[in-house]
Amino acid sequence: MDVAFGLTALITLAGAVAAVWLRNLVHAVLALAVSFAGVAAAYLQLGAEFLGFAQLLIYVGAVAILIVFAVLVTRGGEVPAGGVHAARWWVGALVALGVFAVLGWAASSLGDRRAAAEWTPMSVAELGQSLVGRWVFALQVLGILLTAALIGAVLLAWREEGNDSGTHLGGGES
C-alpha cells in the first residue's frame, strides 16, 4: 500500500462524494470528471495503460461533456427550491452504507491470488489481437448495440415540430 495508491484513492473518492453531494449540477459533473480521472490513474497503476487512456478520453472527455450538455438543456444548473436530495435521503444513504459494508467485508477477506511477479504486461497489440480474435463476435454485437443506442437516443430526444410537449410518452401526469 503505497502513497500513490492512497493519493489516487483519495482523489477518486473525494470526486465521487462531491459529485453526489454538491447542490449545483454543473459543479457535480466537474467533480465527477475528477473522479473519472482518479479511476484512470488507478488503471495506470494497475498496468492497464491502454484502458487508462481510454478512460480519460471517453469518460473525462466525452461522457462528462455529454452530461454537461444535458444539464444545460434541462436547466439543471439552477438549484431548485425543494432541495436536491429526496425527502427521505437517509434511507438511500443507509442502503448504500449497507452495500458498502457487505462489499468491503467481502473484499477485505480476500487475499491475493497470485504473486505480482507472475503477472506479465499486455501490449496494446495483444489486446487488439484478442479483441478481433477471440472476442470478435462480442465486438460485432457491441457495434450493433452502439448503433442502435445512437439511433434510439436521436429518436428519443427528437423535438417534434409544433408540438413541443410531445405525446409519445403517454398522457399527462396522473
Partner: protein, 103 residues
C-alpha cells in the same frame, strides 16, 4: 492490506457512493452521474482482478472493461436522451415527481 484488497475496497466505496447518489438525488441527471460512478467501480474490479487475480495470461479482464466502457457510453447517450424526453413531457427532470408506476 494487500494491493488487491485495496483496490477492491476503493471500488466498493466508489460503488456505494454512486448508489447513494442514485438513491438520494432528485434530479435524473444526478442519478445518471451515480450510475456512471457505479459502472466505473465495476470496471475497477475487473482490472484489479485481471492484475492480481488467479487468471492465466488472458486479456479477458481488459476486454470486458473495454466493452463496459462502450456499453456505458451507449447507456449515457440513451439515458440522457430519456431525461431530455421526460423533461420535455413533464417539465421537470426530478425523478420523484415522475411516478406513474404507482400501484
Amino acid at each position: 492490506m494487500s494491493p488487491l484488497t485495496g483496490y477492491l475496497v476503493l471500488s466498493a466505496a466508489l460503488f456505494a457512493t454512486g448508489l447513494a447518489g442514485v438513491l438520494t438525488r432528485r434530479n435524473a441527471i444526478a442519478v445518471l452521474i451515480g450510475v456512471e460512478l457505479m459502472l466505473n467501480a465495476a470496471n475497477l474490479n475487473f482490472v484489479a482482478f485481471w492484475r492480481y487475480g488467479a487468471g492465466g495470461p488472458d486479456a479477458a479482464g481488459l476486454v470486458f472493461v473495454l466493452f463496459t466502457i462502450a456499453v456505458a457510453a451507449a447507456e449515457a447517450a440513451v439515458g440522457l436522451a430519456l431525461v431530455i424526453a421526460v423533461y420535455r413531457h413533464y417539465r421537470t427532470a426530478h425523478v420523484d415527481e415522475v411516478k406513474r408506476l404507482r400501484g
